[in-house]
Amino acid sequence: MAKRTVIPFGPQHPVLPEPVHLDLVLEDETVVEAIPSIGYIHRGLEKLVEKREWPEMVSVIERICGICSFGHGMGYCLSIEGNMGIQIPERAEYLRLIWHELGRVHSHLLWLGLLADSFGFESLYMHTWKLRETVLDLFERTTGGRVIFSVCKVGGLRRDVDADTLALMERKLTELVPEIEELAKVFIEDSSVGSRLKGVGVLTAEEAAALGAVGPVARGSGLRMDVRLEEKDRLYVDLGFEPCVETAGDSHARCVVRIRELFQSIELIKAAIQRIPDGEVSVPVKGNPEREYIARVEQPRGEAYYYSKGAGEKFLKRIRVRTPTNANIPAMVKTLAGAQLADVPILILTIDPCISCTER
């Protein structure tokens, strides 16, 4: 048996956008075991529910993460709306869908850039992030913010988007598609990219199911699993949504799932813009949450759930958010065992870790 060495990986590492620590047990260059430890960026946001009234808590929840901030705000609002039995106007539902899917495009483009960076393809990284700027500009034009959007509120939305801006969004996204296609070909077909991704970190469908993987990690392993499908969201059903599934289970499959989701999200946004009805974007809200409720949202990284418990007061008793990275860490540890040390950054990135979400 070769001599075992323990190499600390992180919390500060060039490939890690956020702090997570891994103790990598190595035999020569092969990882035998990976022991993760988190807790470097815990901010106690859930505890703030004791000090912030529930309508204002949206501003705290959407700051859990800077990438999927819209989804977090929306998930919290869905949880409170379910708790209080509020039905928001249809136009608000469509606008939420549009922004949520735009957030997915933004997140996946960011992730693709980071992946390219992790295997040293700097020009691909920069070009991917250049495309992401278009999406951020669209966010800025429609919501007023580039990272934290502050448009969701319990009972609907804080601002409407006019028809001209929606038409502009549709046009910009249509222009974006060929540019994404050009870079998608590099990710999918290029031999140097393929040699770093194909066959690396294989996770079978059985393993993914047993370890509770969610989102693109589960779908890359062949599991047809998506909250948008499972919740039978009326809008997604109307728009003919079908999750993107790949069966190979390796890093390349997880990358392909996200690339396919990019195009799918753009199509969903365009279809939603065509169908969006006129009308109000919010309803008046009276009273306080009194029950317990769990809302689920398919974030770009996978399923996130939002638990709220009210007691008929302005302050909620409890807020609990379970984020997709939390669910995907066991799958990441599984793929790391048996991998080469040089592949560790790629394997960590293929679950698209968001440690800020995980620790809140």
């Binding site: 204002e56 501003s59 007023g144 502050s150 590099v186 290029d190």
Partner: protein, 159 residues
């Protein structure tokens, strides 16, 4: 499998214009919808303090006695909850951000008393007897306090 599949994109970028703005020589054009720095029409403000209560980062301070409205610019997170809350619509979001600085910017806006009131106060001060002057001052102060019933009306029921 393809080799050099990104060559076309790279060459196009190499000979094309830069994708970035020429900041600071080319100023950034913000959309009209941008939630930027908070602006205030201090003359319209009634100092009810709702904006300060709604501010998630406690960046706003309202002093009803001194009729002043203070914002810690670096603490503001541009959520515009204060703008939505303002009953008098005297707050708005500018189409620019606060410029970076090495010190934490704090802006204080003070409402000047209306000229008519000032003149009346000056006239009372100019009365010959000192006791009358002091009484006049007291009266004007108490009148000044009594003249601001709106904040009490504007207070939310749960205040």
């Amino acid at each position: 499998m393809k080799f050099l599949s990104m060559g076309k994109v790279v060459l196009r970028s190499l000979f094309g214009k830069p994708s970035t703005y020429g900041y600071p020589f080319t100023p950034r054009e913000y959309p009209d919808t941008l939630r930027g720095a908070i602006g205030i029409d201090i003359d319209a403000c009634i100092f009810c303090g709702l904006c300060a209560r709604k501010c998630p980062t406690d960046a706003i301070e309202v002093n009803r006695q001194e009729k002043s409205w203070t914002i810690k610019r670096m603490q503001c997170v541009y959520c515009s909850y204060c703008v939505d809350t303002c009953m008098k619509n005297c707050l708005w979001t500018e189409h620019t951000h606060v410029v970076p600085d090495t010190v934490k910017q704090v802006d204080t806006y003070k409402q000047e008393p209306p000229e008519a009131e000032e003149e009346a106060a000056e006239e009372q001060l100019e009365t010959p007897a000192s006791t009358e002057a002091s009484l006049g001052q007291t009266d004007s102060e108490s009148a000044g306090q009594a003249e601001t019933p709106e904040p009490q009306e504007g207070e939310p029921a749960d205040a």
